[in-house]
């Protein structure tokens, strides 16, 4: 699919197939087109070209039938501030034409599931950002969706709440739901997603399971150094230009064998001012920055 706003492409030729039952991550820098892509998937934006099939149906043709079976957490909360979480859930349940007893029962379950019960009857405007976010997620679960679309669900959540939300999402997936999420937290994507796509400028630039992506794109170990940026070039020359990333004075080198690389760095004259920050396994953030960051340069 393809989406242009006034001639400017927000999503350009995005071609994706996501199997049912997985947790799929859509990653990409700000403005990459993630939110726009999600909107086309649940049918609140129409593609400028191409089409989207959800549950085998063309969402532009059968939006009601598709949206009955999915749930969406928007990037920005859209709650009724003057009403309580319970009332927000009631209103939303009616959007799905659920019966009143079914709504009440489901509200009970969701207040439990997202640990909202203690705040269920306060006006939303009195809740902290984290509670509001959890309420937004609860709204998207009211109709027991087969497909759950979450646009940056954990933004603004504290680490403990985030961990517990990951647990909940795993439970939903175990129950058969398909999850499609965007996030700017690479650790989250790495731990939660079975499969992911990295998009930049509206195109998929990488696709695969987090571990596979890392293994296929970068060496398994990363060495982080602090060294004045002016001297990065000399050191890289000494090391025969291996794959690296730089951001300010921070230089990250990628290698199969970090111990051997560390020896080489220590022997290099140009590195006498270098301070070792860490030796660690290469992670998804390295891959993300390598694919989308401005500071990337490629060794030979």
């Amino acid at each position: 699919m393809c989406k242009r706003f006034g001639g400017k492409p927000a999503v350009a030729d995005l071609d994706l197939e996501v199997p049912a039952g997985v947790c799929f991550g859509l990653l990409g820098p700000n403005g990459a087109g993630k939110t726009t892509a999600l909107k086309m998937i649940y049918g609140s934006a129409l593609p400028s070209a191409g089409r989207v099939l959800v549950f085998g149906m063309d969402v532009a043709r059968e939006p009601r039938a598709v949206r009955r079976r999915l749930g969406v957490t928007l990037q920005e909360n859209a709650l009724i501030e003057a009403l309580s979480p319970r009332d927000n859930l009631r209103v939303f349940g009616r959007y799905h034409l659920m019966s009143e007893p079914a709504i009440e029962q489901r509200i009970g379950e969701l207040l439990e599931f997202l640990e909202l019960r203690s705040h269920a009857d306060l006006p939303v405007q009195a809740l902290s950002g984290g509670f509001q976010r959890r309420l937004s997620i609860a709204l998207s679960l009211l109709n027991r969706p087969e497909l759950l679309i979450l646009d940056e669900p954990t933004t603004g959540l504290d680490p403990a709440v985030r961990l517990s939300l990951w647990e909940r999402l795993r439970a939903l997936r175990a129950g058969g739901a398909t999850i499609l999420l965007t996030t700017h937290y690479m650790d989250e994507a790495e731990r939660l997603c079975d499969d992911l796509a990295i998009v930049a400028h509206g195109k998929v630039v990488a696709r695969g399971a987090p571990r596979e992506l890392i293994a296929s794109l970068l060496a398994p170990q990363a060495l982080e150094l602090e060294l004045p940026a002016a001297r990065h070039g000399a050191l890289l020359n000494n090391l025969h230009s291996l794959r690296h990333a730089a951001s300010g004075d921070r230089l990250t080198l990628y290698a199969k064998d970090a111990a051997a690389l560390l020896d080489a760095v220590r022997r290099a004259e140009s590195a006498d001012a270098a301070e070792l920050v860490s030796v660690r396994p290469t992670n998804l953030e390295d891959v993300f920055l390598a694919l989308t960051g401005a500071h990337l340069s490629d060794g030979d």
Partner: protein, 255 residues
Amino acid sequence: MRASLPYALAVWRRNFALYQRTWKLNILPNFFEPVLYLLAMGVGVGAYITEMGGTSYIAFLAPGLVAVAAMNGASFEVTYNAFVRMNFEKTYESMLTTPIQPEDVLAGEILWATTRATLYGGCFLLIAMLWGLVTPLHALLALPITPLAGLLFAAIGIAFSLRIPSIDLFSFYFTLFLMPLFLFSDVFFPLEERLQGAWIYVAEALPLLHPVRLMRSAFQGTWSPVLLWDLAYVLALSALLLAIAARVTRRRLMA
């Protein structure tokens, strides 16, 4: 796509749920406003006017003000309130994550604005009745005219709201459109007695004129064939504007 009544009612119920929270505060001004108008205009100004349109000035004034109350009740909902829901509170964006379609949102909002108009006009009508300006029987006859006036101004307002880029433009709508209607639509004086020649027919284009005439006839329990024209005008213009709004709403609510 065509609107579906159950989904439109879900949209209506969203607004109603919010109104239920605050109705006690919201409804009070609806009672004060008529009292203030009737005191200042009816009793105050009316003291200097022996009769207008064959009745006391206050009795002339009351039906027009009921229609104006309905107009205002509907207008605020479909202008400022709908604009905020659309652009700032992202209410419609969140509705469009459910099976609700843009046309359902439109239908629900129009129903709601019509409801507010009926509440608003109904309060005024009640005060007028308690004041002795209309008999209970004639008030009952007048009541269904408030949703008609509400529907008309909901349709006009939403057609405007869906087209404008900025909330600031509503001040034009209120001061350059609704305000002149309020002043020149038979509410304060019989317009046709002040007009000559072809202007009498030109004035028939004013939307508020028709609900006011219907309302006044209901208050007085009189009948004339021109009321059929008034009714036809209200229904036809509402239908036309809603058809236009229905075309725009999908483009406006969906990216």
